[in-house]
Symmetry: C2
Subunit: 153 residues, 2 copies
């Protein structure tokens, strides 16, 4: 033991490497040039959380406030979101999803699921079942991304 921190376990190293490959795969799979990953992720967040402050959205997406300002401007121009004011604080901008935004998310989800379905068809049925059987574990993993959404602090 020559260093003062704990080396990640080999399983974690492999998990990380595999997840990177999956990210690459998904990026290619869902290659919809009409909407970026951040744009889609932002719209999904609005779908779940309802109208949100621009600064909260920036923090949640891990981008700067100016980047979110510009993203919202594009989303507004494309008709997927609208800016509104807050009755209690005139500085605040509340961004909301439009019906067009909702529809786009739905059809995008449908298309991606169809592509994923086609990909899975390429696997032997036993392997496919193993992938689908991993869904509960993946749910746990995905949950790490949205820590304490309900947390009071």
């Amino acid at each position: 033991m020559t260093h003062s921190y704990v080396e990640p376990k080999p399983e974690v190293v492999e998990l990380t490497a595999i997840l990177e490959r999956i990210v690459t795969m998904i990026r290619k799979l869902v290659h919809t040039p009409d909407i970026s990953l951040t744009a889609a992720s932002t719209l999904r967040m609005l779908e779940v959380s309802g109208p949100s402050r621009l600064s909260d959205m920036a923090a949640a997406q891990g981008v700067s406030q100016p980047a979110m300002t510009q993203l919202v401007t594009r989303l507004e121009r494309e008709g997927y979101a609208v800016r509104g004011g807050d009755a209690h604080d005139a500085r605040v901008v509340l961004v909301a999803l439009t019906q067009d935004g909702r529809d786009m998310l739905r059809s995008r989800r449908q298309a991606r699921a169809q592509q994923m379905s086609d990909l899975l068809e390429a696997l032997p049925p036993a392997d496919r079942d193993r992938v689908l059987g991993a869904i509960p574990a993946l749910r746990l993993l995905a949950g790490l991304g949205q820590p304490d959404a309900e947390s009071p602090r």
Copy 2:
């Protein structure tokens, strides 16, 4: 049954949704502004496949040839890759990873595995084991991204 195609199964729909959330998580987790996802993925490919044609790299990464030209130019400027010629065809550019590129990939992997390790620490041990237990299934899923690398056709 009113339509002529098969609706994706609910499990596949959920799998797709979860994978999108994981992509978002990984993008935030591995937020290394010094290197883009495509740049990293391209370097990993060079690490695995050895010196490669620029056009093959563009196809493998799902980007245009000009985009790959520019990416390689940036990678060369940063010292992670070098352009070379092909002895048999003067039109061809063969791109190779440098030692600096190799080193960068290694330290980047280490940093990411460490972050992932920290994240997993936040899970109850039983859940963590379930995530690690899903690795074989994830390996199958990741394999769908690099179809028939060995295929003779």
